[in-house]
């Protein structure tokens, strides 16, 4: 993006009348073009909103960090340069960097790094923070030629790496990947003239790349949830039905390491909670034997379901999507055959299809990088580890049909529903659920991280985070209800639910009824008002609202956008089956 494109974008968004979205840009230098470009990149990611950028005072990064932590901003970008660790490392200083000063510069840098870390911890607790490490070259500190690294430069790099690895562990703080900025060489980043003239150190192209990276780190796309892979010439080299189970390969010594790398990538994704399934035109028994080979680089139990038959692949993909109970746009399909990819793409236009080029290591390397971006998320959670096992448990329940929904069966599960009423801003799982759940979702409304944290600071906020476990194992945190409990002029409390979602893994266990009962009991509300809106995908939620008597039957719905209500008396009069033990967690 050029500066003029950014200015034009900001100008056109100026009169949009969208919701104000304040963000902070914190740096020790004059933010100048970086502020303009950051605002424009945020506008691209938050269309229709009125993005505002708040900045600090020149040369006072600590003061800016402290003020931001008290502000109502929805997110912050913190851009560090070497002069923030010691002013003598900046172009505008006259303190010098002679050898006898260098130990003092290092000591000062350590002290300032510790101070910045403390400030970042406070800021990260209030809003998501994208932190960019120094990207400009150091002054010529060493006694060495520039081709040789000097000890003091290495000491500073070491100090920086140590600081960043600690900062990356702070809640809410995310570090901008330095090598993503390598598209612009270090020599083309510094605008020395502008730095001395105006205190702004970057060339415009570098400021643009940095601004885009900060926005990308703050507003990441929703990760895909599942990957469906072909086997022959994809997971392994060779056609297993022709050459036999023992002769398909994926090893360096058999010149098929690209398949081995792919297997290792799938193993890594499985560990991150990504669902993996197989879709192959083969005999199932042959496939099972091949997947049982002990030298496979991923655990074969990570692959579920395994669909191997001679039907068109789109049919197997449909079965896998039903088993996983997720939408096609959350899935990646990988096959070596363009024809198979095309057949699946035609049946499921929302699926991300990628070809596997086993004989082209460069393309496989590129694919691995793309998979990282498709499935990457800022933080791994306990639920990511549980997902694969709970999908298998759900599939077992599905095989039982209607019997699995009977009260007797549900009671036999020894289920335990935990309703956690604590407001815990550091727990990102409830927000993740709200922002990725489609089917059991009250209105499809998403929430930004900063907006979420501001909502949790409201004393009227009620948050129910629902976890579930039974004899098949824990599902983790699977449902969230967010709202505000406020008394009317007569002192009667009404609970206004703005968001209510439940993971599809938890369907058919009546957790939604347990949640309603908990909401009435915990808040003492006489009535719950639901901010319902119909979406393309929330039919399961609509079906529940009707079953629970909250919404009228489909034929009688006068206005799908209306707020639906449920009184306490009506809820308890219906005597809903609550088959599980309920545990409340409060402060």
């Amino acid at each position: 993006m050029t500066l003029n494109q950014a200015l034009a974008l900001i100008r056109s968004a100026r009169d949009s009348g969208g919701e104000k979205q304040p963000h902070c840009l914190l740096c020790g230098f004059e933010p100048l073009h970086l502020k303009t470009l950051f605002q424009a990149h945020l506008l691209e990611r938050l269309p229709g909103s009125a993005v505002e950028i708040q900045t600090g005072i020149y040369g006072d990064l600590p003061g800016g960090l402290a003020a931001a932590a008290e502000s109502s901003a929805l997110g912050a970008a913190v851009v560090l340069e070497w002069s923030d660790f010691d002013p003598r490392l900046g172009l505008r200083s006259s303190g010098g960097w002679a050898e006898h000063l260098q130990s003092d510069i290092l000591a000062s840098a350590r002290q300032r790094a510790a101070h910045i870390e403390t400030s970042l911890e406070k800021l990260g607790r209030r809003m998501p923070v994208a932190l960019a490490p120094p990207n400009l070259p150091l002054l010529p500190l060493g006694n060495t030629v520039s081709a040789q690294a000097s000890v003091v430069e290495l000491e500073l790099e070491h100090l920086l790496a140590s600081f960043l690895s600690r900062a990356a562990r702070l809640p809410g703080v995310r570090i901008v990947q330095r090598n993503r900025l390598d598209r612009i060489p270090v020599a083309e980043r510094l605008d020395a003239k502008m730095e001395l003239l105006a205190g702004f150190p970057y060339t415009v192209p570098f400021a643009d790349l940095l601004a885009a990276s900060l926005a990308d780190v703050l507003y990441q796309p929703s990760p895909r949830k599942g990957l469906i892979t072909d086997l022959d010439d994809t997971l392994w080299a060779g056609i297993v039905g022709e050459i036999g189970v023992e002769h398909v390969s994926w090893h360096q010594e058999s010149h098929s390491q690209t398949h081995g790398l792919y297997q290792q990538m799938l193993g890594h994704l499985a560990g991150c909670g990504v669902l993996l399934a197989v879709c192959s035109k083969n005999e199932l028994t042959t496939v099972e034997q091949a997947l049982a080979r002990p030298d496979l680089f991923l655990k074969s139990e990570s692959l579920f379901p395994v669909c191997a038959d001679w039907e068109p692949k789109s049919k197997a993909v449909a079965r896998i999507l039903r088993t996983w109970n997720i939408a096609e746009d959350a899935v990646v399909f990988i096959d070596d055959s363009p024809m198979e990819l095309d057949e699946v793409r035609r049946a499921f236009p929302g699926i991300t299809c990628r070809q596997f080029h086993g004989k082209d290591p460069a393309k496989v390397w590129q694919l691995l990088g793309e998979l990282r971006d498709l499935f990457g998320k800022p933080l791994l959670m306990e639920e990511d580890r549980l997902r694969q096992a709970s999908i298998r448990a759900s599939a077992q329940l599905d095989e039982m049909g209607d019997e699995a929904a009977s009260p007797e069966f549900l009671r036999s599960l020894d289920g335990k529903v935990t309703l956690d009423w604590r407001i815990t801003p550091g727990d990102k799982r409830p927000l993740e659920l709200i922002n990725k759940t489609n089917q059991f979702n009250l209105n499809g409304l998403r929430i930004g991280e900063g907006e979420w944290q501001r909502a949790l600071e409201d004393p009227a906020t009620v948050l129910a985070v629902v976890s579930y476990a039974d004899k098949f194992g824990p599902l983790g945190k699977v449902a969230v209800a967010l709202g505000k409990a406020e008394p009317d002029e007569n002192g009667v409390t009404r609970l206004h639910i703005s968001h209510w979602v439940m993971s599809c893994r938890a369907f058919s266990r009546r957790l939604e009824y347990h949640t309603l009962e908990g909401l009435f009991r915990h808040t003492g509300a006489a009535e719950i008002v639901f901010a319902f809106a119909e979406t393309e995908k929330n039919k399961p939620l609509r079906d529940f609202l009707r079953a629970a008597g909250i919404a009228p039957p489909a034929a009688e719905v006068p206005n799908a956008g209306a707020a639906y209500r449920l009184t306490r008396d009506a809820f308890y009069a219906q005597n809903h089956v609550l088959p599980h033990e309920t545990v409340d967690v409060k402060i």
Binding site: N4, A8, R11, V204
Partner: protein
């Protein structure tokens, strides 16, 4: 209004979005409170990008009105053409 003037007016409009076309033609550092040193650098960088010319900030430091900036841009564009 010729093409150079139109393009320059667009640069001004992007940096000072609250100004009307007429106000832009009459704009000067004395009449526009928002035309401070930061806005001046933003404006000059925007103009440099629009016209593909490398502006000398010191030369343009005295260009304190739309008319003065237009005159300098015309001169620099002509020099660049030569």
């Amino acid at each position: 209004m010729n093409d150079t003037e139109k393009r320059l007016a667009l640069c001004f409009a992007n940096v000072f979005p609250e100004l009307s076309d007429d106000q832009i033609r009459r704009a000067s550092t004395a009449s526009i409170a928002a035309w401070d040193s930061v806005a001046h650098i933003t404006l000059l960088t925007s103009i440099g990008e629009e016209f593909g010319i490398d502006l000398d900030f010191e030369e343009f430091a005295e260009a304190n009105s739309f008319a003065a900036v237009l005159e300098l841009v015309r001169a620099r564009s002509a020099n660049a053409g030569n």
